[in-house]
């Protein structure tokens, strides 16, 4: 069972039958909506909706098993934002009597010189919403990959035309090869995990410095073998006359169906609706959002 198992699987579902464009639009809509809101409750609804789409696509829950990593990211965001949030300075128009509430101190009161390093509730909340954004996007992204055959994606990308311009096939190839390599890398990753565990490496300990070293034992072998196989791939490509100037043809045809019109329209309406809600009415936006004046 690969730990990271995001690879196309055959299934007859509504989502599988959709045109790749529709699914790409879905990803974009999720990005837009997740960026529009920063109130945890709203983001939670977005996440629920994504889970709904995932179950519509009949994606087995185990495909999302590696998502536990996200729990760490969320925790990291909560702590760092909780500590450093107030140093952002510019928070737009907050009421004058607004006061930061301290959740607890990282350096507790009973320790010498304590209490120090307060964790601010508002900051933690903001960090939580940042974490939820990451969760939403990480949940949505695999849906495209899991339900779209890689060659359909290639086909779709090569169909895009703006005037007489189209995406160079080299670029499309890089893009789709990346998808193609997800299962390979994921298998490498698992075998490396097994090998390191077998000689006593304990993944998931609590000592952060030790964990960095432990993670190195995973990433060095995986990266090395990925780079080596990428090199092999270039050799294989050259021998097959990659880049020869011909018109490409495809065995698979992807069809744009009536459902695609409906779904695309719906996605656009929802995304625009959310943008309006957030920007014009301030719904789903925390009152103490840091202002970024770049």
């Amino acid at each position: 069972m690969p730990t990271i198992d995001i690879q196309y699987f055959k299934e007859d579902s509504f989502v599988h039958r959709l045109h790749p464009f529709t699914k790409v639009l879905f990803e974009i809509a999720v990005l837009v909506i997740a960026a529009a809101f920063n109130e945890p409750l709203f983001l939670a609804v977005v996440i629920l909706a994504i889970i709904g789409v995932a179950s519509l696509a009949k994606i087995p829950v185990r495909k999302f098993r590696y998502m536990w990593v996200l729990a760490y990211i969320v925790l990291f965001m909560v702590i760092t934002q909780g500590v450093w949030f107030t140093s952002f300075g510019d928070f737009g128009d907050i009421d004058v009597e607004f006061e930061w509430r301290t959740l607890f101190h990282l350096w507790p009161a009973w320790a010498p010189g304590g209490p120090r390093i307060p964790v601010i509730l508002e900051g933690a909340n903001y960090g939580f919403s940042l974490g939820l954004r990451v969760v939403a996007i990480s949940l949505a992204f695999p849906i495209l990959v899991l339900t779209t055959h890689p060659s359909d994606l290639t086909r779709f990308l090569s169909q895009i035309r703006i005037g007489s311009w189209r995406i160079p096939y080299n670029v499309i190839f890089v893009f789709t090869t990346a998808f193609r390599y997800i299962p390979t890398v994921s298998r490498e990753f698992d075998q490396t995990l097994d090998a390191q565990r077998s000689r006593g490496v304990n993944f998931g300990g609590y000592n952060p410095i030790r964990q960095i070293r432990v993670v190195m034992t995973l990433f060095v072998p995986v990266l090395t073998s990925s780079l080596l196989s990428a090199h092999d791939l270039t050799l294989a490509l050259e021998t097959r006359a990659f880049g020869a100037p011909t018109e490409r043809t495809f065995i698979h045809e992807v069809h744009w169906r009536r459902a695609d019109w409906g779904v695309c329209a719906l996605l656009i309406i929802i995304a625009i609706g959310c943008l309006i809600l957030a920007n014009s009415y301030g719904l789903g936006v925390l009152p103490y959002t840091p202002q970024r004046n770049i």
Binding site: M1, R62, E188, Q191, T192, D194, A195, Q196, R197, S198, R199, G200, V201, N202, M216, T217, L218, V220, P221, T224, S225
Partner: protein, 276 residues
């Protein structure tokens, strides 16, 4: 001592997530000091079986006991002190920037003092004749040398049990002999050796016991001699007899009934048969 079970499977069944059944009701008892060869065609469940011996996989049903510990409730890092596991592809584990660093990594994890680490690592590197190259970057080694380095990093742990999953595949004759000689030496040293292999000649020559896997079941579990007598079993699993046994089989029509395991044995038996 030789009769004590160090690994025991009771009614072990395993299905991979997604429902692929890879092992069904395997009952085995590996005793201390055995040299066990595990053979079977591709996909018969050999790797799945041995991955249960250090807890990398946990049984779907039944139990696996390693030195009295239930693998279900014991961490892999703890079992790694009892069972050393050498994988087929060394590139999945090599991450350090020097041979010595790589070989000593497991020992350092076990928090041994510097002197013991130095001593056991040196000894392990000597065993695979890589001691000279201890400061070399692992990437600057040949594939065969990397395989031996991976083996050394497990040897250094001095585990009482050693599992080798197809250690000789893709190796030239010399390295194959070298790895086998090493396994034999470890076995003579009193360690329990389990080896997954397709190399029947090696099985015949070195194993004290052969387990034949077929479709996730252990269909045959006996001494090499007895296993090679049952050609039907072997044929049904798609395995071939070792060359020596094949020759003896060809001589059956002429009244030669032995199942020799090594070349010397074959020659001796033939000579006695001819003389008498």
């Amino acid at each position: 001592m030789a009769s004590e079970a160090i690994i025991e499977t009771r009614d072990l069944s395993y299905s991979y997530p997604g429902g692929i059944s890879a092992l069904s009701s395997v009952n085995l008892e590996i005793r201390q000091g055995e040299f066990v060869a595990i053979i079977g065609s591709n996909g018969s469940g050999k790797t799945t079986l041995v991955k249960h011996f250090n807890g990398l996989l946990k049984p779907s049903q039944g139990h696996v006991m390693v030195d009295g510990l239930d693998t279900r409730t014991t961490r892999v890092s703890e079992l790694s002190r009892i069972v050393g596991f050498v994988f087929q592809n060394p590139d999945h584990q090599i991450f350090a920037y020097s041979v010595w660093e790589e070989a000593s990594f497991g020992l350092k994890l076990h928090k041994l003092d510097a002197e013991t680490v130095e001593q056991q690592t040196t000894e392990a590197l000597q065993a695979v004749s890589l001691d000279e190259l201890r400061d070399r970057h692992p990437r600057a080694l040949s594939r065969g040398q990397r395989q031996r380095l991976a083996t050394a990093s497990i040897l250094a742990l001095r585990t009482p049990v050693l599992v080798l999953d197809e250690p000789t595949t893709g190796q030239d004759f010399l390295s194959r002999r070298q790895i086998m000689a090493l396994a034999v030496e470890l076995h003579a040293d009193g360690r329990t050796v389990l080896m997954v292999t397709h190399d029947m000649a090696l099985v015949a020559e070195y194993a004290t016991r052969v387990i034949v896997m077929k479709d996730g079941a252990a269909v045959c579990d006996a001494s090499p001699n007895e296993v090679f007598k049952q050609d039907e079993v072997l044929k049904s699993t798609g395995l071939d007899l070792p060359p020596v046994a094949k020759i003896a089989r060809g001589l059956r029509a002429y009244g030669f009934s032995d199942t020799p395991l090594t070349q010397t044995e074959l020659v001796e038996n033939l000579l006695t048969a001819i003389r008498s």
